[in-house]
């Protein structure tokens, strides 16, 4: 076993539920490398929702709350406020976060509570067998959009920024270094930090949406679709269609954070 895995994985919970070639393992890998670099494993409280993505924390030997579908951010809010000294990290999926958990996502961002939310985004409901999600591209065929997705898809980063998140970035499983750098920044950020971690799903999204279950092909597709924020700023909306804009998209160090404010009134009430 790799030394990072040896050191941090909850071995009783293995094997993981991830299919071979799944991008979620790359995100988990990036996260654990940062945890190792910062030496913060004992400071972490991890929360997962439901879906493939949300199993990621279950495989880490740490304090872990594997919550109900969509409720990870709401539960993390209680965890953080009960003990603000803990670093609370939420692993969620695109359906978990922006579908069933959309309300909690909006209000977590609005409160600017000090959580790090990593949304593993494969654009599909994978665990249940490949149904369309709020993030599934328009016209894409899935098990519940056999004639093509009739709905537009949601940009979770734009939602996070407009709702009040104070650190927002997007990276992908094809950019493990950029992703790790961003996770480190998010963990160091005081406030609601949100990372859209685009990740390949060979089994469901790959087969049904992209015409291949080959992880390398899917990774290359992600890589070729990605443009940096700096480059994207010089591109037209038309040229940016179907592109994945990666990098730090938003940062605000001025907005007050919720747990700080709530604890500050305790003494002078």
């Amino acid at each position: 076993m790799h030394p990072i895995a040896e050191k941090y994985l909850r071995k009783r919970a293995l094997p993981s539920i991830f299919c071979s070639g799944c991008g979620h393992g790359t995100v988990l890998n990036a996260f654990l490398r940062v945890v190792d670099k910062l030496g913060i494993i004992d400071e972490l409280s991890l929360v997962g929702g439901i879906g493939c993505s949300s199993w990621a924390p279950v495989f880490i030997k740490a304090d872990v709350l594997h919550m109900l579908h969509g409720r990870a951010i709401a539960a993390a809010t209680g965890l953080k406020l009960a003990n603000p000294k803990r670093k609370v990290v939420v692993f969620t999926g695109d359906g978990d976060c922006t579908g069933i958990g959309g309300n909690h996502f909006l209000h977590g961002a609005r409160r600017n509570i000090d959580l790090t939310v990593i949304m593993l985004n494969n654009g599909i409901y994978g665990m249940t067998g490949g149904q369309m999600a709020p993030t599934t591209p328009t016209d894409a065929k899935t098990q519940t959009s056999p004639y093509g997705n009739m709905e537009p898809n949601l940009d979770a980063c734009a939602v996070a920024i407009s709702a009040g998140a104070t650190y927002v970035s997007r990276w992908t499983s094809a950019h493990p270094s950029g992703l790790a750098r961003s996770i480190e920044q998010a963990l160091g950020h005081k406030g609601f930090s949100f990372i859209d971690a685009v990740s390949q799903c060979p089994t469901q999204a790959g087969r049904y949406m992209h015409g291949t279950a080959d992880p390398a092909t899917l990774l290359n597709m992600i890589k070729e679709s990605s443009v940096t924020k700096a480059k994207a700023e010089k591109m037209s909306a038309d040229a940016l269609k179907d592109k994945i804009v990666v990098g730090k998209l938003h940062e605000d160090k001025e907005r007050p954070e919720l747990s700080d404010r709530l604890y500050s009134i305790m003494h002078d009430a």
Binding site: S45, D63, V64, L65, A76, G78, A82, N83
Partner: protein
């Protein structure tokens, strides 16, 4: 604390009891007729090193108190009918993960939006069966402001002892009645304990012989606990695919409560020893029933009352014993007749069980209950 006498509303007494019991976290969403609990919590908790947070809905509220509990605080939420419905998935999660917490449902009337400002006792079955799957909770039911205070404290104590969500069921009348509350100088508080074993020796879901768990490995104490809503083994690892492990866990989740029914019994009986007719009542209806029984006695009728302060687990044996010699049992309830069926379940055919339902939001008058006793 010094003994004190105050005049407060039932909802306020719940807050006072909660803070006395050690509650330091409240998450809630405004809803009539429970809103005063959130309002007063928002005022009082910061003065007691506690946190109040108003969440975006009741699903978030129950989720936040589950998080806060694992974060190390005693926590509760308060709601009414529609919000109680939304909280059910979280209550099931708390039962499954053995997360101690308190949910106060100030009962209003009707399905759906129903009767926001009127009283009822229509949620007594939802309290027990509201979430999907097999599990058990504890539900307590106050009939006065004094009991609202005392049973809130008890709810927190039992939540810790049994590692279970405890539901407090004041009806709207109890919630909004203002009356005398005697605050006792000393009161028993069950503090949350860490496991007796060190992290490397400890299995978070390995039961003691009683079926209960050894302490609570809250986060940040080195236990690195996995808390999972999927049925799990003693280590907390997923085992939903394993029929034997899953079946045993569900059975334990139920039996850790029902096996302790006798320890949990909380009833009060008056004039029942020689009674031909026994009225069984709970919540504010018990007060009308008490007045009715006294009136009946004045008229020379041998009537008695059994007041239930705990509804779940249902005190089968205690009730059976109390009503053994009675000829008839009358069960007035502000619902279609729910607990009366439980009484029917535990009695033989030779006894007359009279359900006295009342819908619409008004309390039974003592006269209505006296009429039923005389009938």
């Amino acid at each position: 604390m010094k003994e004190d006498v105050v005049i407060v509303q039932g909802n306020e007494a719940c807050v006072m009891g909660a803070i006395r019991a050690g509650c330091r976290f409240f998450a809630g969403y405004p809803i009539t007729p429970a809103t005063e609990i959130a309002e007063i919590m928002s005022h009082e908790l910061p003065k007691n090193q506690g946190v109040f947070v108003q969440m975006e809905d009741e699903i978030a509220s129950i989720s936040a108190i589950i998080g806060a509990t694992w974060g190390g605080m005693k926590a509760c939420t308060a709601t009414s009918g529609p919000g109680f419905s939304l909280m059910q998935e979280g209550i099931g999660y708390a039962a499954e993960t053995e997360t101690p917490c308190v949910v106060i449902d100030v009962m209003r009337g009707g399905p759906s939006t129903g009767q926001p400002t009127k009283s009822s006792q229509q949620d007594v079955m939802q309290a027990k069966y509201g979430s999907h799957g097999d599990y058990e909770i504890i539900a307590l039911c106050p009939s006065s402001v004094q009991e609202a205070y005392e049973l809130t404290i008890k709810a927190f104590n039992l939540a810790e002892q049994y590692r279970v969500p405890v539901i407090l069921l004041p009806d709207e009348i109890v919630g909004h009645t203002r009356e005398k509350l005697l605050i006792p100088a000393s009161i028993h508080i069950t503090e949350r304990s860490l496991p007796s074993k060190a992290p490397d020796q400890y299995k978070p879901y390995e039961p003691l012989p009683s079926g209960l768990l050894d302490g609570m490995p809250v986060f940040g104490k080195g236990y690195k606990t996995l808390v999972d809503g999927q049925l799990h083994d003693a280590h907390g690892i997923r085992a939903g695919h394993d029929a034997e492990v899953s079946g045993k866990l569900m059975e334990r989740l139920c039996k850790k409560i029902t096996d302790h029914t006798d320890d949990l019994v909380d009833v009060e009986s008056h004039f029942t020893e020689d009674a031909d007719t026994i009225v069984i009542a709970y919540g504010s209806v018990a007060r009308s029933a008490f007045a009715a029984v006294k009136q009946a006695r004045e008229q020379g009728i041998k009537a008695g009352i059994l007041k239930l302060k705990i509804l779940w687990p249902f005190p089968d044996d205690t009730i059976r014993e109390t009503i053994r010699e009675a000829k008839q049992v009358i069960v007035p309830e502000m619902n279609i007749g729910k607990i009366s069926r439980e009484i029917e379940r535990i009695t033989r055919d030779d006894k007359k069980i009279v359900s006295l339902p009342k819908l619409g939001g008004n309390l039974h008058t003592p006269g209505e209950i006296v009429d039923a006793i005389r009938r």
